[in-house]
C-alpha cells in the first residue's frame, strides 16, 4: 500500500467528506451523481455523457478488475471526478493491463476513496443532484466552497461541444466483435448511416456496424445540409452529456433531417433532442437514472427489459403531441418516458442504453430493429 494522501469532497450544502486520494492529483468541480451498477466502472469512466459530473459508485469495492484496452467507450475520460468506498488493493482479471489509480492519473481524473458513499447517496437521493468539488491539492473546506461557488454548473450549458468528435470519420469496429451479443445483420446491402456524435459511446457504433450499417460519424454541430448532401440512407442520434435545452443547433439539425423522412434512431441525449425537435420539453430530474438495473416496459409487447441508464434530464410526457408522437417505453420505477415513436415518420428513440456497456444487453436488439426499419423503409420508398 502506497502512502495515502487526503482528498476532500465538498458539496454545495457545505457537507464535507474526507477520504484518501487516488488517480490524478488535482481539483475539479462537477455535479455529483451516483451510479448503482455493480460492474463496469471502466465503461462508466469512459462514457462522455458523464462530462461535467463527478461520479460516485454505490458498489463499495471498485478497481478489482483493473483497466484493460478493450472495454473503453471513448478516447478517454471526460468526467470531473470519481468517488468510491474502497479502491481495490489488487487487480485480478486476465484482460487487465493497468490498475485503476494509475490509469486515472494518466486520464487526469481525481479519485476519492474511503468515504461513506452510502451516506452521500442518501443525501443526493433526498436533496437531488448536488454541485460538488473534489480536491487533493486544497484541503481547506472554506476555500473549496468558495471555488465551488464560482462554478457555473451543468444546467443550461453546452457540454456536447466539449466531447463531440472534431471531424467527420467512418467507423467499422464491431463487425464480428467477440464482445458484442449476437446481432443479426438485417441490412440489405450496407445502408449508409449518418451518426450525429453528441459524445457517443463506442458500443453504439459497434452495435450499428454489427447490424450492417456503413457508419459515418459527424460532429454535433454539423449543419443538416451537409448531412443531406452526403445522401445518407438513415440517421442515428447519439448519447451525450448534460442539458439538451441549450443545444438549439442540434435540435434544428434534427428537426430538419427527420422531416426529410430519413429513418432515424436516437439514444439518450439523442432521444431528448428529438423530443425537443418534435415540440416537446425536457426537465432536470432530481438525481437522474444512473445504473444498470432500471426496468423499462415496452408498452407494445408488455415485456420488461432491464436496462442500462445514464441521464439527468427527461422528456415530459405531457409536453408531447400525442397525435404525432407515441410513448412506447416507460420506466417501471417512476413511470418516466423511456421511448418514443413518431406516428408518421420512420423515427424511434429510447432514453436508455441498448448498447449497454456497462449493463444488461436485453435491448441490444434495437440495433437490429433499426436496421429492419431502414430496410423496410427503403423497400417502401423504392
Amino acid at each position: 500500500m502506497s502512502a495515502t494522501k487526503p482528498c476532500l469532497l465538498v458539496l454545495e450544502d457545505g457537507s464535507t467528506f474526507e477520504g484518501t486520494h487516488f488517480g490524478h492529483d488535482g481539483e475539479s468541480c462537477g455535479e455529483l451523481v451516483f451510479n448503482t451498477a455493480m460492474s463496469g466502472y471502466q465503461e462508466i469512466l469512459t462514457d462522455p455523457s458523464y462530462h461535467g459530473q463527478i461520479v460516485l459508485m454505490t458498489y463499495p469495492l471498485i478497481g478489482n478488475t483493473g483497466v484493460n484496452t478493450e472495454d473503453i467507450e471513448s478516447d478517454g475520460c471526460d468526467l470531473q471526478g470519481f468517488v468510491v468506498r474502497e479502491l481495490s488493493p489488487l487487480v485480478s482479471n486476465q484482460r487487465a493491463t493497468v490498475d485503476l489509480s494509475t490509469w486515472l492519473d494518466e486520464q487526469k481524473v481525481v479519485g476519492l476513496a474511503g468515504v461513506d458513499t452510502r451516506a452521500i447517496v442518501r443525501k443526493v437521493r433526498t436533496h437531488g443532484s448536488l454541485r460538488a468539488i473534489l480536491s487533493s491539492v486544497d484541503t481547506d473546506r472554506e476555500s473549496l466552497l468558495k471555488k465551488l461557488g464560482g462554478w457555473q454548473g451543468i444546467a443550461g450549458r453546452d457540454l456536447v461541444r466539449e466531447v463531440t468528435c472534431d471531424s467527420v470519420h467512418t467507423w467499422t469496429e464491431g463487425l464480428d466483435s467477440p464482445f458484442l451479443p449476437h446481432v443479426e445483420r438485417v441490412a440489405v446491402g450496407s445502408p449508409r448511416l449518418a451518426v450525429l456524435d453528441f459524445g457517443i459511446k463506442r458500443n453504439m457504433l459497434r452495435g450499428l456496424a454489427a447490424a450492417g450499417f456503413d457508419v459515418t460519424v459527424y460532429p454535433a454541430s454539423t449543419p443538416a445540409a451537409q448531412v443531406i448532401e452526403a445522401a445518407h440512407d438513415c440517421l442515428f442520434l447519439s448519447n451525450g452529456p448534460g442539458d439538451p435545452e441549450p443545444l438549439s443547433y442540434a435540435v434544428d439539425t434534427i428537426r430538419e433531417l427527420t422531416q426529410t423522412g430519413l429513418p432515424t434512431f436516437g439514444i439518450c441525449l439523442g432521444h431528448q433532442l428529438t423530443a425537443l425537435a418534435l415540440g416537446g420539453r425536457t426537465v432536470k430530474m432530481k438525481f437522474g437514472h444512473h445504473g444498470a438495473n432500471q426496468p423499462v416496459i415496452d408498452l407494445t409487447t408488455e415485456r420488461t427489459e432491464i436496462t442500462s441508464q445514464n441521464h439527468s434530464f427527461v422528456v415530459e410526457e405531457d409536453s408531447l403531441d400525442a397525435g404525432k408522437v407515441e410513448v412506447t417505453h416507460v420506466n417501471l420505477n417512476d413511470r418516466t418516458v423511456e421511448g418514443l415513436r413518431h406516428r408518421e415518420l420512420p423515427l424511434f428513440t429510447v432514453q436508455y442504453h441498448p448498447e449497454a456497456a456497462p449493463g444488461p444487453r436485453d435491448a441490444f436488439y434495437l440495433f437490429r430493429r433499426f436496421a429492419e426499419m431502414v430496410a423496410s423503409h427503403g423497400t417502401a420508398a423504392s
Binding site: M38, T58, A292
Partner: protein
C-alpha cells in the same frame, strides 16, 4: 398477466427432513410459498414430514399433511384432496423427484393435476444429463467434455475418451451425493460404483475435471411474459472442485469485468429459456478459466435452492415468494418490491455491501469420515455476514460460524497467535499441502501460510484461490502484524483501532492479541467513539427509500436505525445450523416473533443464518443480520430501547452469550441466566435434587484424569462421561471400562477447556423419557411427555420417540409429572423447560434439565395443537398461562412419532451405531390413530421404509440374545423369513423360532455382507457388542445395509416397535390425514 382464477387448491410439496444438501432453506422457501399463495386467496395444501419447520405449523396452510414425502403417499393425498395444481419447486430435489414420480406414475393425469412452477419436461431437461448437454449445445453454451454411463464398463469407456482427472456425478441425488473427483483409475472405479448405487436411475455423468477454475452462480427469475432478471451473482472463493454448498462464497461477483459478467448473464437468459423454466427461480452455475476467460456451464437447478435462499437474504429480494406468485400467473412487473414498496419486483437488485457465506461442518461428529471437500456436499449449515468491505464480511462470517474461530485468526486455538508455542506452528511444506487440499480449515491455512512466509503467489498457486481474495486476506494479516507494533493495548491510537475494526477484527481477537479482556477493548472503543453504525439492505443501493428495517453493522459514519416508540423485544437466533442445533430452534424463534408481534410488541431479530425463516425480513419488525456474539448483539442493543432479550429459543448459541449480555446491562427475559447456570452446575444441581428428593444417577465431577478414574471406581461401570456445557451430546460417551475412560479423558478435554468432566452412572436398558413443559412462576403445564424407543444412552436427538408414552405405567408418568413441576418451581423457570428422565425398574431418574426451548418443542406443538414456543414467549413477556388460556396438559388419543434422520451416506466409513453423541441432522414425524402405523409412517418419512414381507437378518450381542426372541417370533408369525448368524440362530432355534443361517464375515461365502449387498435381506436387526474385534464385522454389516437402503435396527427396543409397525400397516394399510383434522379431533375431545 394476472392471477390465475382457474386454480383453487394448490398442493405444495415440502422437502421432508433436514439432510446434508437439503436443509432449512426449504422451510424458508416453503413458508414463503404458503404465505404468498394464501395471500392470493388460494387454498393451500401442504405435505411435509418435517415437524420442525415453520411451514408445517397449522396456521400456514389450510390442510397440512405431516406424512412421508414420497410418490405413494403424495398420490394418496392427491386422491383425497383433489388439488388443481402441485407446486414442486419449493421443496428441493425431494419435491422435484416426487413430482417426476407422480407424473411418471400417471397420478397427475389421472386426477387432472397441473404441475406449476416447473413442468415435467423442464425438470427432465435440467436433470437428465444428456438432455441437459443437448440443451446447452443448442444455445451455444459450453459444457465440460463428458459422457454418461450406466455400468462400470461404460464408465471405463468414457474415461478412456476424456481422461483423468475427472468428476463423477450421479444423476438424481441430493447435494451431489456419491460424486467425487478421481485422479487415478482405482479412485475412479470406486467413485463410479458408489455413484451407480446411489443414483435413482443408476446413472453417472463423468466429465473432465476443471478443478481450479473460478466458480460463479447466477440466480435467475423468469415469468410467464418471458421477463427474466438476475437477482444476484455469487462468486466462490473456493475454486471449482469444492461443492458450492461447501464453498465460501461471496456476493456479488468480484473479479469479472462487466463484459464478462454480461456474457454470463446473456448465457443464463438463453439457458433458462431453452430449458423452458416458465416461471420462478433457477440457479445456474458457471466456471471460468482464469487464464483466458473461457466459460463453462456446470449445472442448472430449475427450482428454488440453497443459493436462492442465500441470494434472497443477500439482496432483500424474496425469491421464493416471488416464485410462488409467478407460478400462479403474475408477472414480475405486477408484483411490488416489498422493500421499496413503490418500485416493482421486475428489476435486478443492486447491493452496496459485500456478502460472505461460510459453510459449517460437523466432522467432529464423524471422526472416521474423510474431511476433504469435494463434489459431494458435507456441510450441515452455513452462516452469512455482511460488511462494507470483503475483510469485514469475511471476519464477521468467521466469528458467526461459532467453530471457535473468532475471526480470521487470533482465536485461542490459533497456533500463530502471539505467545503460542512455536512447536505448534505448521511449516511451509505442511501449509502448502493444507492449501492444496480443500478442507474446512483451508481458509485458516491461507493466514498461516502468509504468516509463515509464503508469498501471495505461492498461496494462490497451491490453493487456486483468486489473487484478489488472497490479497485481501494478506492485507488483513498485515493489519494483524501492525498490532504487534504496540507494546500494550493502551498504546493503540484511535486511528489504528478504527482501521482494525473496519477490517472486521472483533473485540475478542484484539483482546486475544493484546492479552486483555474483550470488555476492556469495548470500553476503550466507547471512550474513543469507535462504534459501528447500521446500514440497510434495500435491494437498490439507496436509490430509493426503504421501508423495511433490514440492517447490518459496519464502521462508517451514517447510521440508518430509526427510533420507534413501540415496546420492543429482542429475539436472539441460533446462528448456523449444526448437528444438535438445527431448525427446531429457528422454529421456536419464529414462533416467538409471530406470537409477540400479535401482542403488540415490536420484534428485533438477530441471527446470521441465511437459510432460515427467522431471517426473512417480514418475520420480525427489524432484522439485524449479524453474528450472534456478545459484541455484535450489544451494538444492536445500544441502538434500541429494548425491554429485554429472549435467549432461550435459539439453542445453546444465545444461551452461551446470555451472561455476557446480562453483565453488560441487557435484560434477559424468562428464566434468568443464573437459573440456567444452576442446572448446568452439577454440584448445585445435585444439591437441589437431593433437597427435592428426586433421584439422579450417581455422579461425580472430576477436573483431572486421576480424579476421573477415582470417581469411576467409586460409582462403578458402565458410566456416561461428558464435558460440561455442551449441546447435542458433544464429547459425550458411554464407557464400559477403565481403558475406555482413560482414552476418552485424553480426547474430551479438547471439547471444552474451561469446564470440568462429568461422570454419571449409566442406567443400562432404561427407558428414556423427554418432557417439555411451561411454567409462568405460578402455574405449570406439561406440553408433552415422550417415551423413547431406544434405551437410555442414545442421545435424545437421535432417538425415536412416541407421544404420549405407550408402555409406561400411569403411576410412573405421574411421578414424572410431579418431578417436572417441582423442578420448574425450584429452578425458577419462566418459560420453557425440558427434562430428560430414565426409568429403570419402575424408578424415575432425572438425567438432564434444560430450562430453555428444546429440540422437541416443534414436534410437541404439532402433536398437541398448541404452539408451545409461542405460549412460552408470551409468558416470558409477562403474561400468565391463565391469561394465555393454556392451563391443562393435552394428551392426544392419536399417536405422534418422531424419528431421526442421519447423514451416514455422506460420510462413507462412518459406523451407524448410535450413542450419546448426537449424529442426526433432522427428524420426521408420523401421526396416526394407530401406534404401529404412526411408527411405520415415521420410518417411511425418514427414507427407511419398512418391508411388509421378506427376509429379516438377526444378529445380536449376547446380552440381547434372549430379549430378541419375541421380536424374531413376531416377524416369523408375520411370515418373514429369518436369517441369522450361527450364534443367534442357535439361540432362536432353542426358543422354537426357525431361522436359516448365514456365514459371518471370514467364515465362508456367501456371507452376511454378500446377501445384504444382493438385496436378499429387507430388514437388519443388529445390536452392537462392545468387543472391538466384533465391531469391525458389525460395521461391515451395517455399512452394507446402509448402502442398499435396508432399514437397520441397532437395538431390540427399536426392533420390537418396528415389528408392531409392520403388523399394523399390513392390517390397516396406509391412511393419510391432515394435521388440522387431528387437531379438530383434539378440540372436540377437550370440549366434551
Amino acid at each position: 398477466m394476472p392471477r390465475r382464477d382457474d386454480l383453487q387448491r394448490i398442493l405444495i410439496i415440502g422437502a421432508g427432513p433436514i439432510v446434508i444438501g437439503q436443509a432449512c432453506e426449504f422451510d424458508y422457501s416453503g413458508t414463503q410459498a404458503c404465505k404468498a399463495l394464501r395471500e392470493e386467496g388460494y387454498e393451500v395444501l401442504l405435505v411435509n414430514s418435517n415437524p420442525a419447520t415453520i411451514m408445517t405449523d397449522p396456521e400456514f396452510a389450510d390442510r397440512t399433511y405431516i406424512e412421508p414425502v414420497n410418490v405413494d403417499t403424495v398420490a394418496r393425498i392427491i386422491e383425497r384432496e383433489r388439488p388443481d395444481a402441485i407446486l414442486p419447486t419449493m421443496g428441493g430435489q425431494t419435491a422435484l423427484n416426487v413430482a417426476v414420480g407422480l407424473h411418471e406414475a400417471g397420478v397427475l393425469e389421472k386426477f387432472g393435476v397441473e404441475m406449476i412452477g416447473a413442468k415435467y419436461d423442464v425438470i427432465q431437461k435440467a436433470e437428465d444429463r444428456d438432455l441437459f448437454k443437448k440443451a446447452m449445445e443448442k444455445v451455444g453454451a459450453a459444457v465440460p467434455p463428458s459422457g454418461i454411463a450406466y455400468t462400470l464398463d461404460e464408465a471405463r469407456e468414457v474415461v478412456s475418451r476424456i481422461g483423468l482427472p475427472c468428476v463423477i456425478r450421479p444423476a438424481f441425488t441430493l447435494g451431489g451425493s456419491g460424486g467425487g473427483i478421481a485422479y487415478n483409475p482405482e479412485e475412479f472405479e470406486r467413485i463410479v460404483n458408489r455413484g451407480l448405487e446411489l443414483s435413482r436411475n443408476s446413472e453417472v455423468l463423468i466429465e473432465k475435471s476443471i478443478a481450479g477454475w473460478k466458480e460463479f452462480e447466477l440466480e435467475v427469475m423468469r415469468d410467464r411474459k418471458d421477463n427474466v432478471v438476475i437477482v444476484c451473482s455469487i462468486e466462490n472463493l473456493d475454486p471449482m472442485g469444492v461443492h458450492t454448498g461447501d464453498s465460501i462464497t461471496v456476493a456479488p461477483q468480484q473479479t469479472l469485468t462487466d463484459r464478462e459478467y454480461q456474457e454470463m448473464r446473456d448465457e443464463s437468459l438463453a439457458i433458462i429459456r431453452e430449458i423452458g423454466v416458465e416461471t420462478g427461480g433457477s440457479n445456474i452455475q458457471f466456471a471460468t478459466n482464469p487464464e483466458n476467460g473461457d466459460r463453462i456451464v456446470i449445472e442448472v437447478n430449475p427450482r428454488v435452492s440453497r443459493s436462492s435462499a442465500l441470494a434472497s437474504k443477500a439482496t432483500g429480494f424474496p425469491i421464493a415468494k416471488m416464485a410462488a406468485k409467478l407460478a400462479v400467473g403474475y408477472s414480475l412487473d405486477e408484483i411490488p418490491n416489498d422493500i421499496t414498496k413503490e418500485t416493482p419486483a421486475c428489476f435486478e437488485p443492486s447491493i452496496d455491501y459485500v456478502v460472505v457465506k461460510m459453510p459449517r461442518f460437523a466432522f467432529e461428529k464423524f471422526p472416521e469420515a474423510d474431511d476433504t471437500l469435494g463434489t459431494q456436499m458435507k456441510a450441515v449449515g452455513e452462516t452469512m455476514a455482511i460488511g462494507r468491505n470483503f475483510k469485514e464480511a469475511l471476519q464477521k462470517a468467521m466469528r458467526g460460524l461459532e467453530t471457535g474461530d473468532v475471526g480470521f485468526g487470533l482465536s485461542r486455538k490459533d497456533p500463530f497467535r502471539p505467545g503460542a508455542p512455536r512447536a505448534l506452528m505448521p511449516g511451509k511444506r505442511e501449509l502448502r499441502k493444507q492449501l492444496a487440499i480443500p478442507t474446512a480449515e483451508r481458509i485458516q491455512a491461507v493466514r498461516h501460510g502468509l504468516l509463515a512466509g509464503l508469498t501471495e503467489a505461492e498461496v494462490h498457486d497451491a490453493s487456486r484461490i483468486d489473487p484478489w481474495f488472497v490479497r485481501h486476506m494478506a492485507d488483513t494479516v498485515k493489519l494483524e502484524l501492525e498490532m504487534s507494533e504496540f507494546a500494550s493495548f493502551e498504546d493503540v491510537p484511535a486511528s489504528a483501532l478504527k482501521r482494525w475494526k473496519s477490517a472486521g477484527f472483533s473485540d475478542v481477537q484484539l483482546a486475544n492479541h493484546f492479552g486483555t479482556e474483550p470488555a476492556r477493548v469495548r470500553t476503550r472503543r466507547r471512550e474513543l467513539g469507535i462504534l459501528p453504525v447500521f446500514k440497510r439492505i434495500d435491494t437498490c443501493a439507496a436509490e430509493f427509500e426503504s421501508y423495511t428495517p433490514y440492517l447490518y453493522s459496519t464502521y462508517e459514519s451514517e447510521c440508518e436505525v430509526v427510533e420507534t416508540p413501540a415496546p420492543k423485544i429482542m429475539v436472539i437466533g441460533g446462528g448456523p445450523n449444526r448437528i444438535g442445533q438445527g431448525i427446531e430452534f429457528d422454529y421456536c424463534c419464529v414462533q416467538a416473533c409471530i406470537r409477540l408481534r400479535e401482542q403488540g410488541y415490536e420484534i428485533i431479530m438477530v441471527n446470521s443464518n441465511p437459510e432460515t425463516v427467522s431471517t426473512d425480513f417480514d418475520t420480525s419488525d427489524q432484522l439485524f443480520f449479524e453474528p450472534v456474539t456478545v459484541e455484535d448483539v450489544l451494538h444492536i442493543h445500544e441502538t434500541q430501547a429494548v425491554q429485554g432479550a429472549i435467549v432461550q429459543f435459539g439453542g445453546q448459541t444465545p444461551l452461551n452469550i446470555s451472561l455476557g449480555l446480562k453483565r453488560a446491562g441487557v435484560t434477559i427475559l424468562g428464566t434468568s441466566p443464573e437459573a440456567i447456570d444452576l442446572v448446568e452446575d452439577r454440584e448445585k444441581f445435585k444439591a437441589l435434587l437431593e433437597r427435592l428428593d428426586i433421584r439422579q444417577p450417581e455422579s461425580r465431577i472430576a477436573v483431572t484424569a486421576e480424579g476421573a478414574e477415582q470417581a469411576a471406581a467409586e460409582i462403578g461401570y458402565p458410566l456416561v462421561v461428558r464435558p460440561s456445557y455442551v449441546l447435542g451430546g458433544r464429547g459425550m460417551e458411554i464407557v464400559y471400562d477403565r481403558r475406555a475412560l482413560v482414552r476418552w479423558v485424553e480426547e474430551a478435554t479438547e471439547a471444552s477447556p474451561d469446564h470440568p468432566i462429568l461422570i454419571d452412572r449409566f442406567l443400562e436398558n432404561a427407558i428414556e423419557v423427554d418432557v417439555d413443559a411451561v411454567y409462568d412462576g405460578k402455574r405449570f403445564v406439561i406440553g408433552g411427555i415422550m417415551e423413547h424407543v431406544e434405551p437410555a444412552g442414545i442421545h435424545s436427538g437421535d432417538s425415536t420417540s412416541i407421544l404420549p408414552p405407550h408402555s409406561l405405567p400411569d403411576a410412573v408418568v405421574d411421578v414424572i409429572r410431579d418431578h417436572t413441576a417441582r423442578l420448574a418451581e425450584a429452578v425458577g423457570v419462566l418459560g420453557l423447560m425440558n427434562v430428560q428422565y430414565a426409568v429403570k425398574d419402575g424408578e424415575v431418574y432425572v438425567i438432564e434439565v434444560n430450562p430453555r426451548a428444546s429440540r422437541t418443542v416443534p414436534f410437541v406443538s404439532k402433536a398437541i395443537g398448541i404452539s408451545l414456543a409461542g405460549v412460552a414467549a408470551r409468558v416470558m413477556a409477562g403474561e400468565s398461562l391463565e391469561e394465555i388460556g393454556f392451563t391443562e396438559e393435552i394428551v392426544p388419543e392419536y399417536w405422534s412419532v418422531k424419528a431421526p434422520v442421519f447423514p451416514f451416506t455422506k460420510f462413507p466409513g462412518t459406523d451407524i451405531v448410535l450413542g450419546p453423541e448426537m449424529k442426526s441432522t433432522g427428524e420426521v414425524m408420523g401421526i396416526d390413530a394407530n401406534l404401529g402405523c404412526a411408527v411405520y409412517k415415521a420410518f417411511d418419512a425418514a427414507s427407511r421404509t419398512l418391508p411388509l414381507q421378506g427376509t429379516v437378518f438377526v444378529s445380536v450381542c449376547n446380552r440381547d440374545k434372549e430379549s430378541v426372541a419375541d421380536v424374531a417370533r413376531a416377524f416369523h408369525e408375520l411370515g418373514f423369513k429369518l436369517l441369522a448368524t450361527p450364534g443367534t440362530q442357535r439361540s432362536l432355534e432353542s426358543q422354537g423360532i426357525p431361522a436359516a443361517t448365514v456365514f459371518k464375515r471370514g467364515e465362508g461365502r456367501p456371507d452376511v455382507v454378500d446377501v445384504i449387498s444382493n438385496h436378499e435381506v429387507h430388514l437388519v436387526i443388529n445390536s452392537p457388542s462392545n468387543e472391538p474385534e466384533a465391531r469391525v464385522d458389525e460395521k461391515a454389516i451395517r455399512t452394507a445395509a446402509l448402502l442398499r437402503d435396508v432399514p437397520t435396527l441397532t437395538s431390540v427396543f427399536g426392533a420390537r416397535i418396528v415389528a408392531t409397525a409392520v403388523e399394523s400397516m399390513r392390517r390397516s394399510g396406509m391412511r393419510v390425514r391432515s394435521m388440522q383434522e387431528f387437531h379438530e379431533e383434539l378440540q372436540a375431545a377437550r370440549a366434551t
